[in-house]
Subunit: 416 residues, 2 copies
C-alpha cells in the first residue's frame, strides 16, 4: 500500500482509540471552537479558495460547479452555523438499549458506539469538508476525507483550521485527516483499506457514487439518486393533487426528492391533465407524456421508454396514464430508484396498499415528495439520504453514523 | 450478463413483489409444510446426498468436510425442526415504530419490511440450504442460493422439496432459487447483480468470506472470524477465571466464539498460570506463551508474533502477561477480529473501562465468550454473527434480515 495512505490509516486507528473516551462536553467544545476559528480565518479561507476558483475557471469548469466551489463570508458563516447546530443536538453515543436478564443470569444489552473510522469521498464542494467533520465528530468518529482535486486548496485550509482547533482543545488532530493526493489511483487504493476504514460514504453525483460502489471493498453507505413518482388516484382531491405536483416538481428542481414522473388514473385524466398542463407551462416545465396524456396536455411532447427511468433534475416531467393503483405500483417498483414516492388519494384501501407495496425509502399519502430530508423529518442534521436497504434507509441523521456493541455483565457464567 | 443469472434475477424481483403481500399465517403454513415434506422425502434426499458423498470421497475431500456434507435421517429431522422453530418466532415484518406528528401535521413513522432479494453464498453444507430459506422466508425475503459444487445434488433435492411445498401452498416457487451452475465465473457475476440482489451473505470459512467481500459490489453482511481474548485482571476471582478460560477454550474448539488468546495481569500470574497450565494440559491444550508466562507454565512453548493474531479453531491457546487493563485493551484492539472479548475482574472501574473501550461485537465481564450466539442471546434463530459495524453487529436474529421504510400520512402538505 501507498505509504502515505498507510500512515493515514495508522493515525486514524490511533485517534479512534482516544475518541472512545471523549465526552459529549469535549465534543461540543471542539465544535464551537471550530465554528469560531473558521469565521476568524475567513480571509485565509477566501484566499485559498480564490486559487481553486481561478484554476477552475482556467480549466473551463461549468458555471454551476464553480458556484458550488466558491466560498464567501456568508458561506463560511453557514459552515460555522452548521457546526453550532450540531452542538445543540443530543449525543447518541453511550446509550444502552434492550438490557435484559437471560435465564442463566447474564445481563445483555446493546450500547451505541461510533462506527470508528469513516471515509468520505466527495467532489468540489468545500462546505462538505466542515459538514462531514462535524457530523462524524459529534458521533465520536474519526474521519478521513478525500475531496475533489478542484477544491484541494480550500479543503486544506479548512482542515488546517479544524486541526488547529482540535489541538487547542487538547484533542488528537488526527480526528480529521485529508488525503492531499487527489489522484484516481490513490482514491482506488483508499477504497480498499478495509483494515483501517470501517465505512465509506460517497457524497456527490451519480458517477461518483457508482464508482465507489463498484470499486470499494469497504462497506459503503450509498446516498442516491431519486426518480420520484406521484400517482394521482381516481379518488384524489384534484386541487390538492395539482398543488402537490407543482410543489414536488418545481419548488427546487435539482434535488433528489423532486418529482420526476407523474402517474394519473384514467378516470380523472380529463379533469386533471388540461388544468395541470396549463400550470406546468406557467412554471416552464417541459411535459413528456404517453399517448393518452399527450392528447390532454397541450404543449407536451411524446415520452420515450427512456423517460420512465430518468431522473431529470430539471424542469421536465414525464406523465403516464394508468388504469389502477396496481398498475401504478408495478410501474413505480419497476422504474424507481427507491427514494420517495407519493399517492394522492381519498381511498383508504388504496392508500394502505400503496404504503405497503411500494418499495422505496419514503412512501407518502397526500404530501409532496420534497419532505424526504433529515431536517424535515426532525433529525436536526443530515449526512445524506440512503437509497440502499442495509444499515440506514432514507434521511440519515446522527444515528446512521453509529453502530452498537453488545455489553454483557456476568458473574462466572460458562456455557454448558 | 449470463442469461441464466439474468432470468433468476427477473424471477426473484417478481417473487419479491408477491412476497410483500404475504401474511404471517401464510409464511408459517409454508414453513410447516416444508418441514413435513423434507421428512417425507428422506429417501430421496439421502439418495441425492449419497452421490455427493461418493464424489467427495473420490476427490479425496478431508474427512471433517465429508462429515459436514453428509445427510442422515437425524440431520434431515434437524433441518425440519429448525423450520418448525421459526414458525413459533414472532414475525418482525409490518411493525411501525417511532410514528410522530411533525409541526406541519405530517405523521411520519418507520415500517419494518423485508430486505427484498437475499443472496446466500455457502460451502458444502446442505443444511444451510433449508436453514437459509427458512430465515429468509419468515422475514418475507426472496432467496437466491449459490452452494458449493460438492453439495449440488443434495442442494437440488432440498430446493425441489421446498419449491414443491411452496407450490402446494399457492405461493410463488421463486421465493427460493438455486444457482445450478457452481462455477467461479458464475459466482463472480452473481456478486455484481446489484440491480436484482439487495444483500449478499456469505456463510462459510475465512477464504469464502474474503472472496465475497473483495468481489461483491452488492452490500455484504460479513459474518466473521473470531480471535477472541480473555483478560484476567489483578482483582479477578481466580477460580472463576480458570473455569471461564477452560470453558471458552475447550467446550467447543472449532467455533468463532471460542477463546484463542489469554492475557493475564502480572500481579496474578504466579498464582494463576501454574494451576491453569495443569488444567489446560489435562484438556490437551497446547500453550503458546510469551516469555513471562512460559516460565510459569510447564509444557508451554514460545509464542511468536504471529500467534497473537491467529484464530486457531483448535486445542491451542496463546498466553501473554500484561501490566495494566490499558495494556490489555490496547493489545486486544490491535489483534482482535471484533468478535467477542471478556474481562475477569472484581474491579468496578476496570470492568466499565473494558466494556467502554474494547472494540468488538460482544464484550463480557465475568462470563465465557462462548455465549455470543443468537440462541444464547434469546433470538431463537441465527443467521450468523456479524463482525462488521454496518446494519447488524454480533449475533443476527430475524431482524438482521429486515430493513425499514418511512411511511408518511399527510393531508395536502407541500414544502415551503
Amino acid at each position: 500500500m501507498n505509504k502515505m495512505l498507510l500512515q493515514l490509516g495508522i493515525n486514524a486507528k490511533e485517534a479512534e482509540n482516544t475518541m472512545r473516551t471523549i465526552t459529549t462536553d469535549q465534543k461540543n467544545q471542539v465544535l464551537a471552537a471550530v465554528a469560531d476559528h473558521l469565521i476568524a480565518s475567513t480571509d485565509k479561507l477566501l484566499e485559498a479558495n480564490a486559487v481553486d476558483v481561478a484554476n477552475a475557471k482556467q480549466n473551463h469548469m461549468p458555471e454551476g460547479l464553480v458556484d458550488r466551489l466558491m466560498l464567501s463570508p456568508e458561506r463560511i458563516e453557514g459552515m460555522a452555523e452548521g457546526l453550532r447546530q450540531l452542538v445543540a443536538l443530543e449525543d447518541p453515543i453511550g446509550e444502552v438499549t434492550g438490557m435484559k436478564k437471560r435465564p442463566n443470569g447474564l445481563l445483555i444489552g446493546q450500547k451505541r458506539v461510533p462506527l470508528g473510522v469513516v471515509g468520505i469521498i466527495y467532489e468540489a464542494r468545500p462546505n462538505v469538508t466542515a459538514d462531514a467533520f462535524g457530523l462524524c465528530f459529534k458521533t465520536g468518529n474519526v474521519v478521513i476525507l478525500k475531496g475533489g482535486s478542484d477544491a484541494i486548496h480550500s479543503n486544506e485550509a479548512i482542515v488546517d483550521c479544524i486541526r488547529e482547533s482540535l489541538k487547542a482543545c487538547g484533542i488528537t488532530e488526527n480526528a480529521i485527516q485529508l488525503i492531499a493526493d487527489t489522484s484516481r489511483e490513490t482514491a482506488a487504493e483508499f477504497m480498499k483499506m478495509n483494515e483501517y476504514v470501517d465505512v465509506l460514504i460517497p457524497r456527490g453525483g451519480k458517477g461518483l457514487i457508482k464508482a465507489v460502489v463498484n470499486q470499494s471493498t469497504i462497506p459503503v453507505i450509498e446516498t442516491g439518486t431519486g426518480n420520484c413518482h406521484i400517482y394521482v388516484d381516481e379518488s384524489a382531491d384534484l386541487d390538492m393533487a395539482v398543488n402537490i405536483i407543482l410543489n414536488a416538481k418545481t419548488q427546487r428542481v435539482g434535488v433528489c426528492n423532486a418529482c420526476e414522473s407523474l402517474l394519473v388514473h384514467a378516470n380523472v385524466k380529463e379533469k386533471l391533465l388540461p388544468v395541470l398542463a396549463q400550470k406546468l407551462k406557467e412554471k416552464h416545465v417541459e411535459m413528456r407524456a404517453d399517448k393518452e396524456a399527450h392528447e390532454l396536455m397541450p404543449g407536451s411532447v411524446d415520452a420515450t421508454e427512456e423517460d420512465w427511468g430518468t431522473e431529470y433534475l430539471d424542469y421536465i416531467l414525464s406523465i403516464k396514464v394508468v388504469y389502477s393503483v396496481d398498475e401504478a405500483i408495478a410501474h413505480i417498483n419497476h422504474y424507481n430508484t427507491g427514494h420517495s414516492e407519493a399517492i394522492i388519494t381519498n381511498d383508504y384501501t388504496n392508500a394502505q396498499k400503496f404504503l405497503d407495496e411500494v418499495d422505496a425509502a419514503a412512501v407518502y399519502v397526500n404530501a409532496s415528495t420534497r419532505f424526504t430530508d433529515g431536517f424535515e423529518f426532525g433529525y436536526g442534521a443530515e449526512i445524506g439520504i440512503s437509497t440502499q436497504k442495509l444499515h440506514a434507509r432514507g434521511p440519515m441523521g446522527l444515528l446512521a453514523l453509529t453502530t452498537t456493541k453488545y455489553i454483557i455483565y456476568g458473574n462466572g457464567q460458562i456455557r454448558r
